[in-house]
Symmetry: C2
Subunit: 267 residues, 2 copies
């Protein structure tokens, strides 16, 4: 079977075996749908997806569902998509919402993706249970033009160390990341503007999200999962990863520009 021959150089057959036997729990199959597909194609062949939501029109701008899926459960549609990509893979699903009273078993997985909506304390309780069971938890956030990912580990602090515990939401994580970058003199102005606009909206709506952010999140999370499965270095919370084209522009506009000018003077 030639499925993974183009992974050569990047992943040895030994690495590929490690990915195959590194079971993932994907909690929430919104942005989780993008991450699951990218991870499966790369070689993570043991995946369980959990979600109780139904597919709506408004998901099609970014999640990997199609029009004829509208009204069907996300967990089922994602299961079918993953099996169509790799029928031999060990894919399972739970068609139901995670709640404080209904937590999936986390002990049998090697890592979890926390892609749950912040309606209540459920995402924080899910973290708690994963960390208690000794597995790392990836938190992806769609920032529209880019994405933010941070990894909680059993040894590190919980997410709530950065803000209030009451009504904690994804907004706090994003504001923390933006503040961190500003503090270290690398402000993400595009992100700060988005946060300001979101907070100014007349009613409280779910955060805006683009396919671009979902695709970045899938790439970033899959790379992090490969690092974990093959024992490589990765940054842990309170550190984080933030990727966007805008960063590549700042690089050239400010720091590299001054280097360019210095280089020119010498010539």
């Amino acid at each position: 079977m030639d499925r993974y021959i183009r992974n050569r150089i990047y992943l040895s057959s030994d690495d590929q075996e490690k990915l195959k036997n590194y079971p993932l729990l994907i909690a929430g199959s919104g942005i989780g749908s993008n991450i699951a597909e990218c991870a499966l194609r790369t070689g993570f062949e043991k995946i369980c997806v959990v979600d109780g939501d139904l597919i709506e029109d408004s998901n099609l701008n970014r999640q990997n569902y199609t029009e004829n899926h509208r009204g069907t459960p996300k967990a089922v549609a994602l299961y079918e998509r993953l099996k169509s990509i790799n029928s031999q893979a060990d894919i399972s699903f739970i068609n139901g919402f995670i709640t404080p009273d209904q937590m999936p078993e986390t002990g049998k997985y090697n890592a979890a993706i926390n892609a749950l909506d912040f309606h209540d304390r459920t995402p924080l309780l899910f973290d708690e249970q994963c960390l208690k069971n000794g597995i790392p938890v990836l938190h992806p956030y769609n920032l529209g033009w880019g994405s933010l990912v941070t990894v909680l580990t059993p040894q590190g602090p919980p997410l709530t160390t950065i803000g209030k515990t009451e009504n904690f939401s994804e907004l706090e994580v994003v504001e923390y990341a933006a503040g961190y970058r500003r503090f270290w003199q690398k402000p993400e102005r595009w992100l700060e503007e988005t946060i300001a606009q979101y907070k100014n909206e007349s009613e409280l709506l779910p955060p805006p999200q683009l396919a671009i952010g979902s695709w970045y999140a899938a790439a970033m999370c899959t790379h992090l999962l490969v690092k974990m499965a093959t024992g490589k270095f990765y940054k842990k919370f309170p550190e984080f990863y933030l990727c966007s084209l805008f960063q590549e522009e700042v690089l050239n506009d400010s720091r590299c520009l001054s280097q360019n000018l210095n280089g020119l003077k010498k010539n």
Copy 2:
């Protein structure tokens, strides 16, 4: 129809209209398959895909095809995938290879993606024709753990200014980008190692590629297309965009680390 309501804040309804009426030509539906899906979901509703290739097992590690597509034409499978996502979109396909004698009409598109394999001079001739017709051409390159994208414009130089014209290949573009970063004292060591390993292989094989690189390329190209369609700034060749998690680590390991230490000393 609620398809684009979650694009709010990032894209105004005016922007959305601009994307809808910005026809794209996607030449090559390998990495083109990932880009097409991300672009369509974002709102580019006029897309033509051109490819004469059939789907193989070895594509499934990164392109958006499924097992039951094996042996079928990529252009047809991609057309069907795109229509399943948005049945109202104006999607078309040409099931045939682009060759020096068989170039698609490029005048009716606003931008093109050159995702053609470098077997011969065809990709360069395709660029020539697009630029002659006044449309920009995006060149995406899968770097495994990241992706490289550069945009040729009618006003700028052609791709071959960076290397020999005989047997020009994607490798030259990637080596140019790695050399540029090294020159500006921001070496991408992971990329230089990959290039060295690839050049050391005992036989000449197609370059290795991961899903991670394809997902990055889709996000980056879609963002660039949005910038073009809405009249925003973007870097043009010989400048380029290069995204990978490794860059986020360099940031913290060297420059930010020294800042962190300075910060600590003050406290």
